[in-house]
């Protein structure tokens, strides 16, 4: 078995590594856009404007209450049909990943904002700061310490979640693993290699995150 794995790796490592490249790319782009949209959604959700609140609640309700695989299918098959447009497959899937991740990131950011003492908002308002300035200058800079570690976790989740793109044969690690399987008829070694790569990446990210969190807390002790 070990021998098979080594042989497979020697011959097909470039396929796996390219797949990993795809996985990281999809994860990064999804989380990046999700942070952008999630922040907007969180601020809308916390605004005193009721229609925004209802809109975001509805969105969260749908995204968190349905399986992500269904959402991927919807964007892959349903949306192009509804819009009557030819949309590249990777665009469909990345869009679905972003739409899904935005919901979770929205909640992470909302929790981070709500964890900032309300007295800070009151102090900002009492100085005559506009809502926008109070949010961007006072609340968000303090919320970021609560938000960043949770976002790191979201990224780790995303690295694993992008494997669902293999259902649609997009170039990422699970697809690479399938490709090697069908080329060699060696399913188990291919799976083990893919699993080890995932483990390696998530472990490195987890340690990186823990290190980063310790740094944050250190600065907190000397600052806040």
């Amino acid at each position: 078995m070990l021998h098979q794995i080594a042989a497979l790796w020697a011959k097909y490592s470039y396929v796996f590594l390219q797949g990993l490249g795809g996985t990281m790319w999809y994860s990064l782009i999804s989380v990046a856009f999700a942070v952008f949209f999630g922040t907007i959604l969180a601020v809308m959700r916390l605004s005193r404007f009721k229609p925004f609140e209802w809109l975001v609640d509805g969105y969260l309700w749908i995204i968190r209450g349905t399986p992500i695989l269904l959402q991927l299918y919807f964007f892959w098959l349903g949306v192009p049909k509804l819009l009557n447009l030819q949309i590249p497959e990777d665009v469909c899937i990345i869009t679905a990943l972003i739409v899904n991740a935005s919901a979770y990131v929205c909640e992470v950011i909302r929790a981070g904002i709500q964890a900032v003492d309300y007295g800070q908002t009151e102090a900002a308002k009492s100085l005559g700061l506009s809502d926008f300035n109070a949010m961007t200058r006072i609340i968000l800079p303090q919320a970021i310490k609560n938000i960043l570690p949770a976002l790191g976790n979201e990224f780790i989740v995303m690295v694993k979640q992008t494997s669902l793109a293999s259902v649609f044969f997009l170039p990422e690690l699970m697809t690479a693993q399938k490709t090697v399987q069908s080329a060699t008829f060696l399913p188990l070694p291919a799976m083990i290699i893919a699993g080890l790569i995932y483990l390696f990446v998530t472990t490195v990210l987890t340690f990186g995150l823990q290190f980063f969190e310790r740094m944050l807390h250190k600065s907190e002790r000397s600052v806040a």
Partner: protein
């Protein structure tokens, strides 16, 4: 503050038929009252009497359930009023300081003037230095508030409010969260401020301070101003049995 001596005839804040409910709980009942320019008004009373809520209605941190709050002839509770703009003229100091922990001492002071009054940065810095010197914090200018004591934080909060050159400052129990040995330094700053002619409304449990510094004392009970008058009227010659009972407990 701006050089002109205060005109005690001029009404700065007028409250008309102000009521406030939190759900079914009625906290303020039909209060009508005026604050004049240059006046130092202390609000005393048992906890739950609505003192802080009344104060927080003056700058619309609490929206009145009914009635009006008129500041410098503008009805703040009206629709289409940019409350943020008017709040720049109404400073507020909180019980729990609420200084901004992610900004340095100096940045705490310069943030609002540079952002909202478009004051040039060097001018804002210069004024921050002046204010810090005035309250004995100039050596802390580049520290973060986490390094300050409670008394220092509260002095910072006071000059942060002063940096906007407000026409009135509201103090919401400014010494209640302080260790006893730090109460004096904060009260001294407020006393100095009162002597400059600043209009001050202060909710306080410091009866000695209220007696010494105020022009007028309001005693609140069950959402109403039950009695008011000069410090002597209230502390030596109270008429209302509730006032007498309260003072007998705290003095």
């Amino acid at each position: 503050m701006n050089g002109a001596s205060p005109n005690p005839q001029r009404v700065l804040i007028r409250v008309e038929n102000l009521s406030k409910n939190f759900g079914k709980l009625q906290v303020l009942r039909d209060i009508t009252e005026s604050i004049h320019e240059g006046e130092v008004v202390s609000i005393i009373g048992p906890s739950g009497s609505g003192k802080s809520t009344f104060l927080r209605c003056l700058n619309l941190l609490e929206r009145p359930s009914s009635g009006r709050v008129i500041f410098e002839d503008v009805d703040l509770s009206g629709r289409h009023v940019n409350v943020d703009k008017h709040r720049q003229k109404i400073g507020m100091v909180f019980q729990l300081f609420n200084v901004f922990p992610h900004l340095t001492v100096k940045q705490n002071i310069t943030l609002a003037p540079t952002l909202e009054k478009k004051l040039p940065k060097d001018e804002a810095d210069r004024r921050a230095e002046e204010l810090l010197t005035r309250v004995g914090l100039s050596d802390k200018r580049d520290e973060y508030p986490g390094r300050l004591s409670g008394g220092q934080k509260q002095r910072l909060a006071i000059v942060r409010a002063l940096a906007m050159e407000p026409d009135v400052i509201l103090f919401d129990e400014p010494t209640s969260a302080l260790d006893p040995e730090m109460v004096g330094e904060v009260l001294d700053v407020i006393k100095d401020l009162a002597e400059t002619g600043m209009t001050i409304v202060i909710v306080t449990h410091e009866m000695g301070f209220a007696r010494e510094v105020s022009d007028r004392v309001l005693f609140m009970d069950e959402g109403r101003i039950a009695e008011q008058g000069s410090p002597d009227d209230i502390f030596k010659n109270a008429q209302n049995p509730r006032t007498i009972e309260f003072l007998s407990k705290v003095l």
